[in-house]
């Protein structure tokens, strides 16, 4: 039980430690900026949680994020209203998630390979469509999504809360979520139980795609550009957030709360290093070490349980 709470504990220690170590940490501006910085990874990681619970993996989310942001901003550039642009960005992500799901289930290719493939395909297409150039002509009001405030807190926090609640409800309170756990825990047993495994696996990838599309729009709003090169290596951070939060790459394990904690641990590590003047090169190494540490502690716990 103590080990299960370890990620929460770590987050709390980091929070208190940083409050003591730096006078700038516990300021409204800094905390808002942590939330804004982690929101993108956080929302992607929520989708990734679903995929990982169902025993899959999605390496293409970084590319899908760029494609979503690009399509959304291009729509605005062509005069569509902001809401339409955001919707287009989200749906673009959903389309590619669906494509990932269909390919893993229909062609029966390992999702690692499928999404490694789409990682390249989607990035390549984004670069072709944009000719490698970012989209700049975006209505100024679009910045509200990533940079605005609502009721005194960053707007993205509201978006994140809604997404987190949504994914939590899917995982814990719907048939889809239950099936995702079953498929991830033992796909053969799920199939033997008469569950439509392919359909639900595809659905999970599609939802991951939609959330990634949304994250792409937030990223575009923060940068106020549609970047075809956005989101590179974000997939690794999203996966890291899930596994730090107790998700298992073997499937059948993971939770929204765990993933949020995982993403915020990484966010605080990086924010704290900035505040304390630790070199960004060292930051990467620290985060890497934390991933290995978190997962090995979790493995130890599971081995003790013997399940």
């Amino acid at each position: 039980m103590i080990q299960r709470l370890l990620p929460f504990f770590t987050l709390a220690v980091l929070f208190v430690g940083l409050s003591l170590a730096s006078p700038y940490f516990l300021t409204g501006t800094n905390l808002s900026s942590v939330i804004r910085q982690t929101a993108v990874i956080n929302i992607m990681a929520l989708g990734m949680t679903l995929v990982i619970v169902a025993g899959g993996i999605d390496l293409s989310v970084g590319s899908i994020l760029a494609m979503g942001g690009l399509m959304g901003t291009m729509a605005m550039e062509h005069g569509l209203p902001i809401q339409m642009g955001v919707a287009i960005g989200i749906l673009t992500g959903g389309f590619w998630g669906l494509a990932n799901g269909v390919m893993t289930t229909r062609l029966r290719i390992n999702p690692f390979i499928v999404t490694l493939g789409t990682l390249g395909i989607v990035r390549g297409l984004a670069l072709i469509i944009s000719d490698g150039l970012p989209v700049h002509k975006i209505p100024a009001r679009f910045s509200f999504l990533g940079e605005g405030n609502l009721l005194g807190v960053p707007f993205v926090l509201w978006v994140l809360v809604v997404c987190a609640l949504g994914v939590h409800i899917i995982l814990e309170h719907t048939r889809l979520g239950r099936y995702a756990f079953a498929i991830g825990s033992n796909p053969e047993a799920a199939y033997y139980a008469g569950i439509p495994v392919a359909f639900h696996t595809t659905a999970v990838y599609a939802i991951c795609g939609l959330l990634t599309g949304l994250a792409g729009m937030i990223e575009a709003s923060r940068l106020m550009t549609g970047q075809p090169t956005a989101g590179q290596t974000y997939e690794l951070q999203a996966i890291a957030a899930v596994v730090i939060g107790g998700g298992s790459l073997r499937g059948g394990e993971g939770s929204v709360l765990g993933t949020l904690v995982g993403a915020f641990i990484m966010g605080l590590l990086s924010n704290g290093s900035d505040l304390l003047g630790i070199s960004p090169y060292l930051q990467q190494a620290i985060i890497g070490a934390v991933i290995i540490l978190a997962v090995s502690v979790d493995e130890l716990r599971k081995r003790k349980l013997g399940a």
């Binding site: 048939r175 079953a182 033992n186 033997y192 569950i195």
Partner: protein
């Protein structure tokens, strides 16, 4: 004497696999090793081949005591095994496999490929095997792979060759080919140990015989002097300890009717029916097609031909989903792999096949689910710390009950039990039998596959016997093990002359 084993013992954890294994094999002889499933034949042979270490007893090789710890040590003194499942490297060629680990070298660590191919060709030629040295092993049939293993054994200078059920995956003509090769090896003065399940093969190849039962050697001697009836008695002749007795019900309507079911090459023209309240046993040896029949009925494998009726209605079953919808349930042989989501709670496993019953518009109703889980856990006497306990942490018997409960909750009408008592202790076995009885009493039909003939005799109302993909006969529940064994192991045509 080439090989002699005296009072060899082997246990795995608490399970005694071999309590007294005696065996002596002479050079230039084919020695048959017989016994039921689980009698200890494979364990004994794995000890001889150095794949397992014995716990006690003596092993003499050409008169000298030996203690083998690794397969390579067995190979070094001249013992080789042709496995049931091929242990070859599939992507390498025939020649590369024959010489694997002993490639002819031309100094400095380079393989002399030319010489290797020539040597392999000579070896194949000598035995008149239908092989080419440069064929890739993955393209070969099971029989072809066995020939490669034989070549490898001969090339390594083995003087004792062990065949572990060589014909279980072979066609009739391939079987004849294996017999030809075995007698050829005998003429060259090699010793051969031949494990088999199939009594009709005996006379064709064997010189002498050792029969194992429940981990102990019960008979050893020349084959000629031993009538087949005597062999069967030795194989099954343990005392029947009745652990369960069921009083049959008057059977109701037909729940399952199968007409002319075929799936090449494992199922041939299978027809039978199961009525409500009936427990029908399905007996047969390994490879007879019992599991394949369950798989085809449950939509895991396609059938080529045949009509299936469930509760009087014709149904098309092409996936487990369709089978489940039709009212079928499969309690699979390997419940760890295909029956349970071990990392999930007992409750999730129990409701998995029928989540619609505990949800509304796709949303789960947790309180309803909790009530149902409690109810069914109590009814099926599942002993778990709590419904949240991970299914993988339950005992084998309780795991099996969770799998059964899943289907009861789904409201299945026809249950296919594939080896339902495998890996669970005696007390739990009785509980599983009682559950099956309860199911039958509540109007379900049950088909029960078991390799334990006593279990079938105790539990089933009637017993179907399969052999090589066919149902070879039907016996009343009170049949004797000898009757079952005859139908399961003997060639119908040859039956008359084999039985003395």
């Amino acid at each position: 004497m080439l090989l002699e084993l005296r009072k060899v013992q082997k246990r795995f954890g608490g399970v005694v696999a071999l309590s007294r294994g005696d065996l002596s094999v002479q050079a230039g002889q084919v020695h048959l090793l017989l016994g039921e499933n689980g009698a200890g034949k494979s364990t004994l042979m794995r000890i001889v081949a150095g794949m397992l270490e014995r716990d006690a007893g003596d092993m003499l090789w050409q008169g000298r005591p030996v203690h083998l710890k690794k397969p390579s040590e067995a190979a070094a003194i001249g013992i080789a095994m042709v496995h049931q499942e091929s242990l070859l490297a599939p992507h390498l060629s025939v020649a590369e496999n024959i010489f694997l680990g002993r490639e002819p070298m031309r100094g400095a660590g380079f393989v002399d490929r030319g010489r290797m191919l020539r040597m392999a060709a000579r070896l194949i030629e000598e035995h008149r095997f239908p092989l080419q040295p440069d064929w890739r092993v993955e393209k070969l049939t099971p029989a072809g792979k066995q020939l490669v293993e034989i070549c490898r054994a001969v090339q390594h200078g083995s003087s004792l060759l062990i065949f572990d059920e060589p014909t279980s995956s072979l066609s009739e003509s391939e079987t004849r080919e294996v017999f030809r090769i075995v007698s050829q090896l005998r003429e060259r003065g090699m010793g051969v140990i031949y494990i088999t399940h199939r009594l009709e093969e005996l006379r064709a190849v064997g010189d002498s015989v050792t029969i194992l039962r429940d981990g102990a050697t019960v008979h050893s001697g020349p084959l000629e002097e031993l009538p087949t009836g005597e062999i069967i008695r030795h194989m099954v002749g343990r005392e029947i300890t009745a652990i369960y007795h069921r009083s049959p019900l008057p059977p109701g309507e037909e729940v399952l009717r199968v007409d002319g079911l075929r799936r090449r090459p494992v199922l041939k023209d299978i027809s039978f029916s199961v009525r409500a309240g009936e427990i029908v046993g399905l007996a047969g040896l390994v490879g007879a097609g019992r599991t394949e029949l369950c798989r085809a009925l449950f939509g895991l494998d396609r059938y080529d031909k045949g009509i299936i009726h469930v509760a009087g209605k014709p149904v098309q079953i092409r996936s487990p989903r369709q089978a489940v919808r039709a009212g079928l349930a499969l309690i699979p042989e390997d419940r760890q792999r295909s029956g349970l989501a071990r990392s999930l709670p007992v409750s999730h496993n129990l409701t998995l096949a029928n989540l619609t019953a505990v949800s509304r518009f796709g949303f789960l109703r947790h309180s309803t689910e909790r009530d149902k889980v409690e109810d069914f856990s109590r009814r099926l006497r599942i002993r778990a710390e709590s419904p949240k306990q991970r299914a993988g942490r339950l005992s084998g018997g309780n795991q099996q009950k969770v799998v059964i409960a899943k289907w009861v909750f789904r409201g299945a009408r026809m249950f296919l039990f594939d080896e339902p008592t495998r890996g669970i202790d005696v007390g739990a076995k009785v509980e599983v039998f009682e559950l099956m009885d309860q199911l039958a009493r509540s109007g379900a039909g049950i088909l029960m596959v078991s390799s334990e003939m006593q279990e079938l005799i105790q539990v089933a109302d009637r017993i179907l016997v399969m052999r090589r993909g066919r149902i070879t006969g039907e016996l009343p529940g009170a049949a004797s093990q000898e009757e079952i064994m005859r139908l399961a192991a003997l060639e119908e045509a040859a039956g008359g002359e084999l039985l003395q």
